[in-house]
Amino acid sequence: MSRLRKTELAKVGFGLIVAMIVTALGCAILALPGEESGLAGAVMLNLDQAGAKNPVTAVLLNFRGYDTLLEIAVLLLAVLGARALAVDESADDSEHFRSSINPVLIGFIRVIAPVMIIVAGYLLWVGGHAPGGAFQAGAVLASLGVLLVLADINWTQHLSDYSERILLTISLVVFLSVGLATMFNARNFLEFSPSTAKWCILLIEAVATVSIAVILLALFCCGKISNARKYHETTRGRVE
């Protein structure tokens, strides 16, 4: 009884602290200047040399490309962590699930798969001048992968772990290589020349799309996309 009282008290007390934080932050927000353009001017000024007409893509891949490089490393880390924590479940009686594959889902995937691939390609291409880009395209491809896993379509079984590891890391490798290649022209790391910037960005984004898709899918499959089936069977119960 007294223990219950104590947790209630903690809830109320902590709630008050949070309310104070929220109030202070709210006042700070209201005290901000009403008009402030940040770096928008600087971005627009340099946009025609950045190789991407979409300012967000220009910031992401050119002005602050280094952040994006590290961010892909963050994604890779999550996969590494998931791999370290995954447990090999070798003994798996998976056959009895075969019968339960839903034909409607298969039919749906037949239709949706090509559409999703086209959407991903479109998002990747359009990212240069309109909303879109590698992350969005990669996420769409990864969702397709998740659908395939849910439908029990086992397209990854012939993928060796070695090639999977290459797919996971290829975007970092390409990103680093492009960055280093720019240095041969007496430029800085990741300093694209205005004439080639567009193609450098497109190359990085194209490879990143693939890697990001594989990484996100791997995160869904406990770190290994070749585990997809085994893994899925342990979790089927609730999802469907």
Binding site: V22, V43, E71, A78, L85
Partner: protein, 101 residues
């Protein structure tokens, strides 16, 4: 009060709710969701404040920052869930001592 401040204040409240949840909620899955809510709150503040530019185009730099943040958030969520699965598995099998208390 403008649209910008409305959304920014909404972001502040989401941040608060998320932080409350991370500390107070007991189930780990809910703590992870709370962490995501907290992150969304920060992102909302960033994006709302990016719209204070004089013209009609918002400042793209916070947009890029938020994209980075979303990716970091999904990585952290995935790692948390991997830990959660493993913990669930280990504690259920119980071949390890439970003297963590």
């Amino acid at each position: 009060m403008t649209t910008v401040t409305l959304y920014a204040l909404c972001g502040v409240i989401l941040f608060g709710i998320g932080f409350y949840g991370v500390i107070i909620c007991r189930h780990l899955l809910r703590k992870v969701m709370a962490l995501n809510l907290m992150g969304t709150g920060v992102f909302l503040i960033l994006i709302a404040l990016a719209r204070r530019t004089p013209g009609d185009r918002p400042d793209p730099v916070p947009h890029a920052m938020v994209l980075t943040g979303i990716v970091v958030a999904v990585s952290a969520t995935a790692l948390a869930l991997a830990l959660l699965r493993r913990l669930h598995r280990e504690t259920e099998i119980g071949d390890l001592p439970h003297d963590a208390k």
